[in-house]
């Protein structure tokens, strides 16, 4: 089940790899190519070929298993996922023709289902569902989506990335600064911070499910004890308000050690003479960080940002183990939906289409990041 996140990890390796070989491609010699051959052929077999397949399959109605022949369906899969539509409804009126007002001052609107399912005037809305809506004076504007679950998955994933990328990167840097000191036993701390990275994400997710348990979970007990019972037990994963945040917190904790090590390697490439010079100039700790450490970490920062972004987009295992996308779609993500459709619902073409869309999203965001963090001359 975890192959999708493996795949993403490989794509990450791959994009890092292409970046570094690009400049040397022209001067590549035979030995170089030979040494790259095993990796290149595996990447071709398991990443590039499947990606090409996914592009092709997304224009068909291919099933995982079916006696029916595969047919070309054009853009139908994309239409099914991405179709959006607005509809503006006026409030229900009473006999006199005035809008009915509820006790709390709100209006009553006709149910969308009465229009979308039976009214020929709204034939284009058939099969669509309300995603969200806004008040426009007396009227209400509904945003309808053909695939609300996918839309929610996209929004959730973007939210996850936007929160995780800065928090995880920042926290990892803070940890790296902390453990980049010559203290007795510092290796112990390095090991402790790094440990969650080595443990399988499935195992970590199972453990955190226990921690987040609504009744007698570790977190609820801890909060209850610390607050002398003032904080009531919360259903962390069972409530739409806290489920995604809980997964975000756990995900940051799990992978922060990995990025800490990358930052640490960056920190250790900064020449000590710079720090000595800064000390002689009398710079304080903040100035040293701002003008010596941070500029020296530039390339590391770009790497960490891109890697975290890509990993965050591939959010899958935590969802699969902890919430299955629920409650009320609050933890649906793009990759989870791709796997759920491709394998769970045996709809390979649907899963492929989502994968292609994810590829395009991640590619464009990576390109934008590359552009924004380019060396300016």
């Amino acid at each position: 089940m975890n192959f999708r996140s493996l795949l993403m990890r490989d794509i990450i390796c791959f994009s890092g790899f292409t970046m570094s070989i690009q400049s040397k491609l022209t001067s590549a010699n035979r030995t170089g190519w030979l040494m790259a051959l095993p990796t290149l052929s595996l990447i071709t077999l398991f990443i590039i070929v499947p990606l090409i397949f996914a592009f092709g399959l997304s224009f068909t109605n291919q099933r995982l298993i079916s006696p029916n022949p595969t047919e070309f369906v054009g853009w139908k899969n994309y239409y099914q996922l991405l179709d959006l539509s607005f509809v503006k409804l006026s409030p229900e009126v009473d006999e006199a023709g005035a809008a009915k007002v509820n006790n709390d001052g709100s209006y009553e609107y006709p149910r969308i289902r009465t229009l979308s399912r039976s009214n020929p005037e709204y034939e284009h809305l058939r099969g669509m569902r309300e995603w969200t809506s806004w008040q426009l004076g007396e009227d209400r504007l509904y945003l309808m989506a053909r695939d609300v679950v996918f839309m929610k998955a996209v929004v959730n994933t973007l939210f996850f990335v936007l929160v995780v990328a800065p928090l995880q990167g920042g926290l990892a840097l803070a940890l790296a600064l902390l453990i980049n000191q010559r203290l007795r036993g510092i290796n112990l701390y390095r090991a402790i911070y790094f440990m969650p990275v080595v443990v399988s994400i499935v195992v970590v997710s199972l453990l955190w499910r226990l921690i987040y348990d609504a009744n007698d979970g570790l977190l609820n007990n801890l909060l209850g004890t610390l607050s002398f019972g003032l904080i009531p037990p919360l259903d962390w994963l069972g409530s739409p308000d806290t489920a995604m945040e809980s997964i975000i917190a756990m995900s940051i904790w799990q992978a922060v050690g990995f990025h800490m090590v990358i930052w640490l390697s960056g920190l250790q490439t900064i020449s000590p003479t710079l720090y000595e010079a800064a000390a002689i100039e009398g710079s304080n700790k903040w100035q040293t960080f701002r003008y010596v450490t941070w500029p020296g970490l530039r390339n590391t920062a770009v790497l960490v940002l891109i890697v975290i972004t890509m990993q965050a987009f591939a959010l899958f295992a935590q969802i699969d183990v902890m919430t299955q996308g629920g409650p009320l779609d609050s933890t649906q993500t793009i990759v989870f939906q791709a796997v759920e459709r491709g394998y769970g619902k045996q709809d390979i073409s649907g899963g492929s289409t989502i994968s292609v869309l994810l590829f395009i999203i991640v590619l464009s965001i990576s390109l934008i990041q590359r552009y924004l963090t380019r060396e300016k001359h």
Binding site: R111, V148, P240, K345
Partner: protein, 414 residues
């Protein structure tokens, strides 16, 4: 010289033997369960010893990954001769071309419980050595304390009586929740255990007249009434929702957290051991009669098998009452024939779980018999989880209906 001729005789003997016994491979879903492995190995051993034409070779898989293994094997063209298949999944596998119709003597299955026979498009594809049933489990002492009538097979609780029972349990203040539905068991449990409620209301997952649409069945008036009732079980505080702790599902009732638990006969043995006044009550009549889910794991012949007669011979051999009874005694499953039921510890007349046999016989309904069920089960599960979590009932059932219809359309009507 003597030695050499002896050797020659031996070699000829071995090769004759090899020619004689055709090997049949068989896959089974019960890896990791010791009792189950022993039982199935016993049958295989007995069959191999009983004749010399075929030799069955058994491979066991863990249940969680069994279906995936079969699908992968089918894609790779490596299916075994004899397949173990979950009842509601069978039509999908038959339609996909993994399975072929099963040719066994009609008389051997004449008195089987209907849930144990896997039929699709009027052909028999699979037979189960057992069936499973669900009951509303409680204790006589709980009913007495709450002052409730004991429902019977002929006179089950009505919807109002059922809700009154839950209210009484809630009002007593002795239970964390009145009812445990098993929301922690995600997956097949949802359609298996809960779609009969929907059917009792008069709705269904899909319109079974031709299996071409869910419109009206899953989002008609009956289904909407079911949805409102279902949501009220959770918003009204009657049952723990989707975030129920799996440990509570397993031991909550035994530990006194719940007054009633909607549970399968496979869990009955544990409860019986703890309380000797355990009752297995029939499902409440929610409108169109009490209903529970039927069909469990069954045996069939894969389409790839070159020896379907041999595979069928093995399945026929396994259908002997003594084996059916052994499975029942070993793991608490329902024996599918009256003869085998009489031979078991729990299901014979006066046995502690006898009621399950009648439940299965009188109330069991099979899940939709269509290749599309695999998708429909997932859609149904999500809809029920969403409604339990407070989603709008009509919109959720509409969305589920649309998704099922789209899937049917994309598969050219299956």
């Amino acid at each position: 010289m003597l030695k050499r001729s002896l050797l020659a005789v031996a070699v000829v003997g071995v090769s004759l033997n090899l020619q004689a016994a055709t090997e049949l491979s068989m896959w089974y879903h019960g890896a990791g369960n010791e009792v189950e492995s022993q039982l199935i190995n016993q049958i295989v051993g007995d069959f191999n010893a009983s004749q010399s034409d075929y030799s069955v070779k058994l491979e066991s898989f863990p249940q969680a990954s069994y279906n995936d293994s079969v699908v992968a094997a089918a894609l790779a063209g490596n299916l075994p001769d004899i397949l173990d298949v979950d009842g509601p999944v069978m039509p999908n596998w038959a339609w996909s071309g993994y399975m072929q119709p099963l040719n066994i003597d009609e008389s051997k299955i004449a008195n089987f419980l209907p849930g144990a026979l896997g039929k699709w498009e009027d052909k028999l594809y699979s037979v189960g050595l057992w069936d499973a049933a669900v009951a509303l489990v409680t204790r006589q002492s709980i009913l007495d304390e709450l002052g409730l009538r004991t429902p019977t097979l002929d006179n089950p609780w009505s919807k109002d009586e059922f809700m009154a029972a839950l209210d009484a349990a809630k009002a007593s203040g002795k239970y964390e929740y009145p009812l445990d539905l098993g929301m922690a068991w995600t997956g097949e449990w949802y359609p298996y255990a809960f779609s009969p409620f929907l059917q009792s209301f008069g709705g269904d997952i899909v319109d079974r007249s031709n299996y071409q649409t869910a419109e009206g069945a899953l989002n008609g008036d009956a289904a909407l009434a079911f949805g409102e009732w279902w949501q009220n079980l959770f918003t009204g505080g009657y049952a723990p929702g989707t975030s129920q702790d799996p440990a509570d599902r397993d031991s909550g009732f035994v530990n006194g957290k719940y007054a009633f638990t909607w549970n399968g006969n496979w869990a009955a043995m544990n409860i019986l051991e703890k309380y000797d006044d355990t009752l297995f009550l029939p499902a409440p009549n929610l409108g169109t009669g009490p209903k529970i889910g039927g069909a469990s794991w069954q045996f069939g012949v894969s389409a790839a098998s070159e020896n379907p007669e041999g595979a069928a011979a093995f399945i026929e051999f396994a259908l002997q009452d003594k084996y059916l009874a052994a499975f029942s005694d070993g793991i608490g499953l329902i024996p599918p024939t009256p003869g085998s039921a009489a031979m078991t510890k729990h299901y014979k007349e006066g046995g502690a779980m006898e009621v399950f046999y009648e439940l299965s016989k009188q109330q069991a309904v099979v899940r939709p018999v269509t290749p599309g069920y695999v998708v429909q089960a997932k859609v149904f599960e999500k809809a029920l989880a969403d409604i339990a979590n407070g989603a709008d009932v009509a919109d959720t059932l509409d969305a589920a209906t649309d998704e099922i219809n789209l899937d049917i359309e994309r598969n050219s009507g299956y």
